[in-house]
Symmetry: C2
Subunit: 235 residues, 2 copies
Amino acid sequence: MNKTTPAIKQDIKVSVDAIVFGYNQENGISVLLIKRKIDPFADQWALPGGFVHNEESLEEAVARELKEEAGVSINYLEQLFTFGKPDRDPRTRIISVAYFGLVKSADFSLFASTDASEAAWFNIYELPPLAFDHQEIVGKAIARLRAKITYEPIGFELLDARFVFSDLEQLYMKLLGHNIDRRNFKRKVMSLGLVIELDEKAPSIGAGRPGNLYSFDYEKYKQLKVNGFDLNKLL
Amino acid sequence: MNKTTPAIKQDIKVSVDAIVFGYNQENGISVLLIKRKIDPFADQWALPGGFVHNEESLEEAVARELKEEAGVSINYLEQLFTFGKPDRDPRTRIISVAYFGLVKSADFSLFASTDASEAAWFNIYELPPLAFDHQEIVGKAIARLRAKITYEPIGFELLDARFVFSDLEQLYMKLLGHNIDRRNFKRKVMSLGLVIELDEKAPSIGAGRPGNLYSFDYEKYKQLKVNGFDLNKLL
Protein backbone atom coordinates (compact mmCIF):
# COMPACT_ATOMS: atom_id res chain seq x y z
CA MET A 1 0.00 0.00 0.00
CA ASN A 2 1.23 3.44 -0.84
CA LYS A 3 1.52 5.21 2.47
CA THR A 4 2.82 8.55 1.33
CA THR A 5 0.63 11.59 1.01
CA PRO A 6 -0.55 12.15 -2.56
CA ALA A 7 0.93 15.31 -4.04
CA ILE A 8 -1.53 18.15 -3.77
CA LYS A 9 -1.82 21.07 -6.11
CA GLN A 10 -3.30 23.79 -4.00
CA ASP A 11 -3.20 27.45 -5.03
CA ILE A 12 -4.36 29.16 -1.88
CA LYS A 13 -2.52 31.86 0.02
CA VAL A 14 -2.97 32.72 3.68
CA SER A 15 -3.26 36.22 5.06
CA VAL A 16 -4.22 37.83 8.35
CA ASP A 17 -6.33 40.92 8.98
CA ALA A 18 -6.70 43.00 12.12
CA ILE A 19 -9.85 44.64 13.38
CA VAL A 20 -8.65 47.01 16.07
CA PHE A 21 -11.49 48.81 17.78
CA GLY A 22 -10.58 52.02 19.56
CA TYR A 23 -12.61 53.49 22.38
CA ASN A 24 -12.84 57.17 23.09
CA GLN A 25 -15.34 58.49 25.60
CA GLU A 26 -16.45 61.37 23.37
CA ASN A 27 -16.44 59.69 19.99
CA GLY A 28 -17.41 56.15 20.84
CA ILE A 29 -16.08 53.13 18.98
CA SER A 30 -13.87 53.44 15.95
CA VAL A 31 -11.92 50.99 13.85
CA LEU A 32 -8.33 51.31 12.62
CA LEU A 33 -8.06 51.44 8.83
CA ILE A 34 -5.21 51.92 6.39
CA LYS A 35 -5.26 53.35 2.90
CA ARG A 36 -3.81 50.83 0.46
CA LYS A 37 -0.86 51.87 -1.68
CA ILE A 38 -1.03 48.98 -4.09
CA ASP A 39 -3.48 47.10 -6.25
CA PRO A 40 -5.95 45.57 -5.93
CA PHE A 41 -8.01 48.35 -4.37
CA ALA A 42 -5.15 50.88 -4.49
CA ASP A 43 -6.07 54.15 -2.67
CA GLN A 44 -8.98 52.49 -0.90
CA TRP A 45 -9.37 52.02 2.82
CA ALA A 46 -8.93 48.52 4.21
CA LEU A 47 -8.15 46.66 7.40
CA PRO A 48 -4.45 46.39 8.21
CA GLY A 49 -3.18 42.95 7.25
CA GLY A 50 -1.21 40.93 4.76
CA PHE A 51 0.36 37.64 3.84
CA VAL A 52 1.68 35.34 6.54
CA HIS A 53 5.41 34.72 6.30
CA ASN A 54 6.51 31.09 6.20
CA GLU A 55 8.15 31.01 9.63
CA GLU A 56 5.89 33.21 11.72
CA SER A 57 2.79 32.25 13.66
CA LEU A 58 -0.54 33.82 12.70
CA GLU A 59 -0.37 36.01 15.82
CA GLU A 60 3.13 37.19 14.89
CA ALA A 61 1.95 37.95 11.37
CA VAL A 62 -0.90 40.15 12.51
CA ALA A 63 1.29 42.00 15.04
CA ARG A 64 3.93 42.58 12.32
CA GLU A 65 1.37 43.91 9.83
CA LEU A 66 -0.10 46.29 12.40
CA LYS A 67 3.37 47.61 13.15
CA GLU A 68 4.30 47.93 9.48
CA GLU A 69 1.11 49.42 8.11
CA ALA A 70 -0.15 51.52 11.02
CA GLY A 71 2.84 51.91 13.33
CA VAL A 72 1.11 50.38 16.34
CA SER A 73 2.22 47.54 18.63
CA ILE A 74 -0.72 45.45 19.75
CA ASN A 75 -0.03 41.90 20.80
CA TYR A 76 -3.22 40.89 22.56
CA LEU A 77 -5.66 40.35 19.74
CA GLU A 78 -8.08 37.45 19.72
CA GLN A 79 -8.87 35.27 16.74
CA LEU A 80 -12.23 36.22 15.27
CA PHE A 81 -12.93 34.04 12.24
CA THR A 82 -11.32 32.75 9.06
CA PHE A 83 -12.78 34.11 5.85
CA GLY A 84 -12.35 31.69 2.98
CA LYS A 85 -14.80 32.29 0.13
CA PRO A 86 -13.03 31.25 -3.07
CA ASP A 87 -13.55 34.62 -4.79
CA ARG A 88 -12.87 37.06 -1.96
CA ASP A 89 -9.67 38.35 -3.58
CA PRO A 90 -9.39 39.21 -7.30
CA ARG A 91 -5.73 38.07 -7.53
CA THR A 92 -5.83 34.48 -6.45
CA ARG A 93 -7.54 32.57 -3.69
CA ILE A 94 -6.59 34.01 -0.33
CA ILE A 95 -8.05 32.94 2.94
CA SER A 96 -7.73 35.41 5.75
CA VAL A 97 -7.54 34.71 9.46
CA ALA A 98 -9.01 37.77 11.19
CA TYR A 99 -8.02 38.94 14.66
CA PHE A 100 -9.76 41.60 16.74
CA GLY A 101 -9.24 43.62 19.86
CA LEU A 102 -10.38 46.69 21.73
CA VAL A 103 -7.98 49.43 22.80
CA LYS A 104 -8.08 52.98 24.10
CA SER A 105 -7.45 54.86 20.87
CA ALA A 106 -5.75 57.77 22.68
CA ASP A 107 -2.92 55.41 23.71
CA PHE A 108 -1.74 54.98 20.11
CA SER A 109 -0.18 57.29 17.55
CA LEU A 110 -0.60 56.05 14.04
CA PHE A 111 2.14 55.96 11.44
CA ALA A 112 1.53 54.43 8.02
CA SER A 113 4.30 52.74 6.06
CA THR A 114 5.09 49.81 3.67
CA ASP A 115 1.86 48.96 1.80
CA ALA A 116 -0.16 51.75 3.46
CA SER A 117 -0.16 55.45 2.59
CA GLU A 118 -2.36 56.47 5.55
CA ALA A 119 -3.66 55.04 8.80
CA ALA A 120 -6.65 56.46 10.65
CA TRP A 121 -9.49 55.74 13.06
CA PHE A 122 -13.01 55.72 11.62
CA ASN A 123 -16.15 55.70 13.70
CA ILE A 124 -17.94 52.40 13.18
CA TYR A 125 -21.05 54.28 12.01
CA GLU A 126 -19.11 56.34 9.46
CA LEU A 127 -16.95 53.82 7.65
CA PRO A 128 -15.73 54.57 4.13
CA PRO A 129 -16.18 51.95 1.39
CA LEU A 130 -13.75 49.14 2.22
CA ALA A 131 -11.59 46.93 0.02
CA PHE A 132 -12.25 43.20 -0.45
CA ASP A 133 -14.85 41.72 1.97
CA HIS A 134 -13.59 43.93 4.78
CA GLN A 135 -17.03 45.42 5.36
CA GLU A 136 -18.30 41.93 6.17
CA ILE A 137 -15.28 41.25 8.40
CA VAL A 138 -15.83 44.46 10.37
CA GLY A 139 -19.53 43.59 10.72
CA LYS A 140 -18.71 40.20 12.13
CA ALA A 141 -16.21 41.70 14.55
CA ILE A 142 -18.75 44.23 15.84
CA ALA A 143 -21.30 41.44 16.34
CA ARG A 144 -18.75 39.34 18.23
CA LEU A 145 -17.73 42.26 20.43
CA ARG A 146 -21.37 42.98 21.27
CA ALA A 147 -22.10 39.33 22.06
CA LYS A 148 -18.96 39.09 24.14
CA ILE A 149 -19.75 41.98 26.45
CA THR A 150 -23.05 40.39 27.40
CA TYR A 151 -21.41 37.33 28.91
CA GLU A 152 -18.01 38.63 29.93
CA PRO A 153 -17.23 41.94 31.60
CA ILE A 154 -14.76 43.48 29.18
CA GLY A 155 -13.56 46.94 28.49
CA PHE A 156 -12.90 48.01 32.06
CA GLU A 157 -9.26 48.58 31.13
CA LEU A 158 -10.52 51.31 28.81
CA LEU A 159 -11.75 53.40 31.73
CA ASP A 160 -9.65 55.47 34.08
CA ALA A 161 -8.42 53.68 37.20
CA ARG A 162 -11.14 55.47 39.15
CA PHE A 163 -14.32 56.20 37.26
CA VAL A 164 -17.87 57.38 37.82
CA PHE A 165 -20.48 54.74 37.11
CA SER A 166 -21.86 56.65 34.15
CA ASP A 167 -18.48 56.20 32.39
CA LEU A 168 -19.05 52.46 32.43
CA GLU A 169 -22.64 52.88 31.25
CA GLN A 170 -21.40 55.11 28.43
CA LEU A 171 -18.84 52.52 27.37
CA TYR A 172 -21.46 49.78 27.23
CA MET A 173 -23.96 51.96 25.40
CA LYS A 174 -21.33 52.94 22.83
CA LEU A 175 -20.33 49.33 22.37
CA LEU A 176 -23.90 48.14 22.01
CA GLY A 177 -25.09 51.09 19.96
CA HIS A 178 -28.23 51.54 22.03
CA ASN A 179 -29.39 52.65 25.47
CA ILE A 180 -29.45 50.23 28.38
CA ASP A 181 -31.61 49.74 31.43
CA ARG A 182 -29.21 51.56 33.75
CA ARG A 183 -30.63 50.29 37.03
CA ASN A 184 -30.60 46.68 35.95
CA PHE A 185 -27.14 47.09 34.47
CA LYS A 186 -25.75 48.50 37.70
CA ARG A 187 -27.33 45.75 39.77
CA LYS A 188 -25.84 43.03 37.53
CA VAL A 189 -22.41 44.62 37.30
CA MET A 190 -22.21 45.10 41.08
CA SER A 191 -23.35 41.50 41.68
CA LEU A 192 -20.27 40.23 39.79
CA GLY A 193 -18.16 41.72 42.58
CA LEU A 194 -15.64 43.14 40.13
CA VAL A 195 -16.47 46.79 40.58
CA ILE A 196 -15.80 48.40 43.93
CA GLU A 197 -17.49 51.54 45.15
CA LEU A 198 -14.87 53.85 46.66
CA ASP A 199 -15.41 56.19 49.58
CA GLU A 200 -14.65 59.14 47.33
CA LYS A 201 -16.56 61.53 45.13
CA ALA A 202 -15.67 62.70 41.65
CA PRO A 203 -14.94 66.44 41.35
CA SER A 204 -18.21 68.24 40.73
CA ILE A 205 -18.68 69.41 37.14
CA GLY A 206 -21.09 72.31 36.61
CA ALA A 207 -24.31 72.11 38.56
CA GLY A 208 -24.46 68.29 38.76
CA ARG A 209 -24.10 66.39 42.01
CA PRO A 210 -20.62 64.87 42.34
CA GLY A 211 -20.81 61.14 41.56
CA ASN A 212 -19.28 58.34 43.59
CA LEU A 213 -16.05 56.94 42.28
CA TYR A 214 -15.59 53.27 41.46
CA SER A 215 -12.63 51.09 40.69
CA PHE A 216 -12.21 47.76 38.99
CA ASP A 217 -10.79 44.70 40.74
CA TYR A 218 -8.30 43.37 38.16
CA GLU A 219 -7.08 40.52 40.35
CA LYS A 220 -10.56 39.16 40.83
CA TYR A 221 -11.22 39.69 37.13
CA LYS A 222 -8.17 37.62 36.13
CA GLN A 223 -9.20 34.88 38.53
CA LEU A 224 -12.76 34.77 37.16
CA LYS A 225 -11.45 34.85 33.62
CA VAL A 226 -9.45 31.68 34.23
CA ASN A 227 -12.33 29.91 35.95
CA GLY A 228 -14.91 31.13 33.48
CA PHE A 229 -17.52 33.78 34.03
CA ASP A 230 -20.15 31.74 32.33
CA LEU A 231 -20.42 28.66 34.47
CA ASN A 232 -23.15 30.02 36.66
CA LYS A 233 -25.14 31.73 33.99
CA LEU A 234 -27.55 29.05 32.97
CA LEU A 235 -26.33 26.31 35.30
CA MET B 1 4.92 54.36 -7.88
CA ASN B 2 4.71 50.65 -8.36
CA LYS B 3 1.12 49.74 -7.64
CA THR B 4 1.21 46.01 -8.18
CA THR B 5 1.42 43.50 -5.40
CA PRO B 6 4.98 42.33 -4.76
CA ALA B 7 5.38 38.65 -5.58
CA ILE B 8 5.08 36.55 -2.47
CA LYS B 9 6.74 33.25 -1.88
CA GLN B 10 4.54 31.52 0.61
CA ASP B 11 4.73 27.79 1.27
CA ILE B 12 1.66 27.25 3.37
CA LYS B 13 -1.14 24.80 2.68
CA VAL B 14 -4.70 25.05 3.99
CA SER B 15 -6.68 22.16 5.42
CA VAL B 16 -9.91 21.72 7.34
CA ASP B 17 -10.65 19.41 10.26
CA ALA B 18 -13.98 18.34 11.70
CA ILE B 19 -14.77 17.79 15.35
CA VAL B 20 -18.11 16.01 15.31
CA PHE B 21 -19.43 15.33 18.77
CA GLY B 22 -21.99 12.58 19.06
CA TYR B 23 -24.51 12.36 21.87
CA ASN B 24 -25.92 9.12 23.17
CA GLN B 25 -27.97 9.06 26.34
CA GLU B 26 -26.21 5.98 27.73
CA ASN B 27 -22.65 6.68 26.67
CA GLY B 28 -22.47 10.44 26.83
CA ILE B 29 -20.40 12.54 24.46
CA SER B 30 -18.10 10.99 21.90
CA VAL B 31 -16.06 12.34 19.03
CA LEU B 32 -15.82 10.98 15.51
CA LEU B 33 -12.32 9.80 14.59
CA ILE B 34 -10.79 8.13 11.58
CA LYS B 35 -7.76 5.87 11.36
CA ARG B 36 -5.26 7.29 8.88
CA LYS B 37 -4.16 5.15 5.96
CA ILE B 38 -1.23 7.28 4.96
CA ASP B 39 1.80 9.00 6.39
CA PRO B 40 2.42 11.04 8.40
CA PHE B 41 0.83 9.26 11.36
CA ALA B 42 -0.25 6.24 9.28
CA ASP B 43 -2.44 3.84 11.32
CA GLN B 44 -3.09 6.46 13.98
CA TRP B 45 -6.43 7.95 14.90
CA ALA B 46 -7.11 11.52 13.84
CA LEU B 47 -9.93 13.95 13.18
CA PRO B 48 -11.52 13.65 9.74
CA GLY B 49 -10.17 16.38 7.48
CA GLY B 50 -7.86 17.22 4.64
CA PHE B 51 -6.68 19.76 2.14
CA VAL B 52 -9.06 22.35 0.77
CA HIS B 53 -9.59 22.10 -2.97
CA ASN B 54 -8.99 25.25 -4.97
CA GLU B 55 -12.61 25.90 -5.93
CA GLU B 56 -14.54 24.85 -2.85
CA SER B 57 -15.44 26.90 0.21
CA LEU B 58 -14.06 25.87 3.59
CA GLU B 59 -17.52 24.58 4.56
CA GLU B 60 -17.73 22.50 1.38
CA ALA B 61 -14.26 21.10 2.06
CA VAL B 62 -15.14 19.91 5.55
CA ALA B 63 -18.44 18.38 4.39
CA ARG B 64 -16.61 16.57 1.56
CA GLU B 65 -13.93 15.20 3.87
CA LEU B 66 -16.51 13.93 6.34
CA LYS B 67 -18.33 12.18 3.53
CA GLU B 68 -15.14 10.71 2.06
CA GLU B 69 -13.41 9.61 5.23
CA ALA B 70 -16.29 8.66 7.50
CA GLY B 71 -19.27 8.25 5.18
CA VAL B 72 -21.38 10.87 6.96
CA SER B 73 -23.22 13.89 5.59
CA ILE B 74 -23.14 16.77 8.04
CA ASN B 75 -23.55 20.25 6.65
CA TYR B 76 -24.25 22.32 9.75
CA LEU B 77 -20.89 22.61 11.41
CA GLU B 78 -19.69 25.83 12.96
CA GLN B 79 -16.22 27.29 12.61
CA LEU B 80 -14.23 26.71 15.78
CA PHE B 81 -10.73 28.12 15.33
CA THR B 82 -7.82 28.18 12.90
CA PHE B 83 -4.71 26.36 14.05
CA GLY B 84 -1.60 27.81 12.49
CA LYS B 85 1.56 27.00 14.47
CA PRO B 86 4.40 26.78 11.94
CA ASP B 87 5.46 23.26 13.00
CA ARG B 88 2.09 21.56 13.48
CA ASP B 89 2.59 19.25 10.50
CA PRO B 90 5.87 17.41 9.77
CA ARG B 91 5.46 17.65 5.96
CA THR B 92 5.21 21.34 5.35
CA ARG B 93 3.43 24.20 6.97
CA ILE B 94 -0.30 23.54 7.03
CA ILE B 95 -2.84 25.72 8.73
CA SER B 96 -6.10 24.05 9.58
CA VAL B 97 -9.51 25.64 9.89
CA ALA B 98 -11.43 23.51 12.38
CA TYR B 99 -15.22 23.11 12.38
CA PHE B 100 -17.33 21.51 15.09
CA GLY B 101 -20.85 20.30 15.67
CA LEU B 102 -22.99 18.13 17.89
CA VAL B 103 -25.17 15.34 16.50
CA LYS B 104 -27.12 12.35 17.74
CA SER B 105 -24.61 9.60 17.06
CA ALA B 106 -27.34 6.98 16.52
CA ASP B 107 -28.47 8.89 13.41
CA PHE B 108 -25.26 8.09 11.53
CA SER B 109 -23.69 4.91 10.18
CA LEU B 110 -19.99 5.25 9.64
CA PHE B 111 -18.16 4.10 6.54
CA ALA B 112 -14.45 4.77 6.11
CA SER B 113 -12.89 5.28 2.69
CA THR B 114 -10.22 7.24 0.77
CA ASP B 115 -7.49 8.22 3.27
CA ALA B 116 -9.17 6.46 6.20
CA SER B 117 -9.12 2.75 7.01
CA GLU B 118 -11.62 3.00 9.88
CA ALA B 119 -14.09 5.47 11.34
CA ALA B 120 -15.44 5.25 14.88
CA TRP B 121 -16.89 7.15 17.82
CA PHE B 122 -14.69 7.53 20.90
CA ASN B 123 -15.92 8.73 24.25
CA ILE B 124 -14.30 12.08 25.00
CA TYR B 125 -12.86 10.65 28.22
CA GLU B 126 -11.32 7.64 26.44
CA LEU B 127 -9.58 9.10 23.43
CA PRO B 128 -6.69 7.22 21.83
CA PRO B 129 -3.44 9.09 21.09
CA LEU B 130 -4.21 11.42 18.21
CA ALA B 131 -2.17 12.48 15.18
CA PHE B 132 -0.79 16.01 14.77
CA ASP B 133 -2.14 18.57 17.27
CA HIS B 134 -5.58 16.98 17.16
CA GLN B 135 -5.62 16.45 20.92
CA GLU B 136 -5.36 20.22 21.36
CA ILE B 137 -8.04 20.81 18.73
CA VAL B 138 -10.46 18.41 20.43
CA GLY B 139 -9.72 20.07 23.78
CA LYS B 140 -10.54 23.49 22.39
CA ALA B 141 -13.76 22.17 20.83
CA ILE B 142 -14.89 20.67 24.14
CA ALA B 143 -14.17 23.94 25.92
CA ARG B 144 -16.14 25.89 23.29
CA LEU B 145 -19.08 23.51 23.49
CA ARG B 146 -19.16 23.81 27.27
CA ALA B 147 -18.96 27.59 27.17
CA LYS B 148 -21.65 27.72 24.51
CA ILE B 149 -24.24 25.76 26.42
CA THR B 150 -24.02 28.18 29.30
CA TYR B 151 -25.20 31.12 27.26
CA GLU B 152 -27.26 29.46 24.55
CA PRO B 153 -29.72 26.60 24.96
CA ILE B 154 -28.32 24.04 22.55
CA GLY B 155 -28.66 20.33 22.20
CA PHE B 156 -32.45 20.13 22.47
CA GLU B 157 -32.55 18.60 18.99
CA LEU B 158 -30.63 15.66 20.45
CA LEU B 159 -33.54 14.73 22.70
CA ASP B 160 -36.72 12.96 21.68
CA ALA B 161 -39.59 15.21 20.62
CA ARG B 162 -41.19 14.58 24.02
CA PHE B 163 -38.77 14.05 26.88
CA VAL B 164 -38.68 13.82 30.66
CA PHE B 165 -36.83 16.65 32.33
CA SER B 166 -34.10 14.36 33.59
CA ASP B 167 -33.15 13.63 29.95
CA LEU B 168 -32.27 17.29 29.54
CA GLU B 169 -30.39 17.31 32.84
CA GLN B 170 -28.47 14.22 31.71
CA LEU B 171 -27.53 15.87 28.43
CA TYR B 172 -26.21 18.95 30.18
CA MET B 173 -24.33 16.93 32.80
CA LYS B 174 -22.72 14.79 30.08
CA LEU B 175 -21.77 17.88 28.11
CA LEU B 176 -20.34 19.66 31.14
CA GLY B 177 -18.72 16.58 32.64
CA HIS B 178 -20.04 17.33 36.12
CA ASN B 179 -23.25 17.42 38.12
CA ILE B 180 -25.46 20.47 38.07
CA ASP B 181 -27.74 22.18 40.57
CA ARG B 182 -30.90 20.57 39.19
CA ARG B 183 -33.40 22.92 40.82
CA ASN B 184 -31.60 26.03 39.64
CA PHE B 185 -31.12 24.53 36.19
CA LYS B 186 -34.83 23.77 35.84
CA ARG B 187 -35.81 27.25 37.01
CA LYS B 188 -33.47 28.89 34.48
CA VAL B 189 -34.43 26.64 31.59
CA MET B 190 -38.14 27.14 32.23
CA SER B 191 -37.69 30.92 32.51
CA LEU B 192 -36.37 30.98 28.92
CA GLY B 193 -39.82 29.89 27.81
CA LEU B 194 -38.43 27.38 25.33
CA VAL B 195 -39.43 24.23 27.14
CA ILE B 196 -43.10 23.46 27.54
CA GLU B 197 -44.49 21.14 30.16
CA LEU B 198 -47.05 18.84 28.52
CA ASP B 199 -50.18 17.51 30.16
CA GLU B 200 -48.86 14.00 29.78
CA LYS B 201 -46.82 11.52 31.81
CA ALA B 202 -43.97 9.34 30.61
CA PRO B 203 -44.64 5.58 30.79
CA SER B 204 -43.69 4.38 34.25
CA ILE B 205 -40.44 2.42 34.34
CA GLY B 206 -39.97 0.03 37.25
CA ALA B 207 -40.98 1.40 40.65
CA GLY B 208 -40.33 5.08 39.85
CA ARG B 209 -43.08 7.65 39.62
CA PRO B 210 -43.90 8.48 36.00
CA GLY B 211 -42.34 11.85 35.11
CA ASN B 212 -44.03 14.70 33.29
CA LEU B 213 -43.26 15.02 29.63
CA TYR B 214 -41.82 18.16 28.12
CA SER B 215 -41.34 19.42 24.60
CA PHE B 216 -39.14 22.03 23.05
CA ASP B 217 -40.50 25.09 21.24
CA TYR B 218 -38.37 25.18 18.07
CA GLU B 219 -40.15 28.19 16.60
CA LYS B 220 -39.46 30.29 19.64
CA TYR B 221 -35.91 28.96 19.71
CA LYS B 222 -35.27 30.05 16.12
CA GLN B 223 -36.73 33.47 16.86
CA LEU B 224 -34.56 33.93 19.95
CA LYS B 225 -31.52 32.68 18.09
CA VAL B 226 -31.91 35.43 15.51
CA ASN B 227 -32.50 38.12 18.12
CA GLY B 228 -29.78 36.84 20.42
CA PHE B 229 -30.24 34.99 23.68
CA ASP B 230 -27.58 37.02 25.32
CA LEU B 231 -28.91 40.51 25.16
CA ASN B 232 -30.63 40.33 28.48
CA LYS B 233 -28.01 38.40 30.35
CA LEU B 234 -25.87 41.19 31.70
CA LEU B 235 -27.79 44.11 30.26
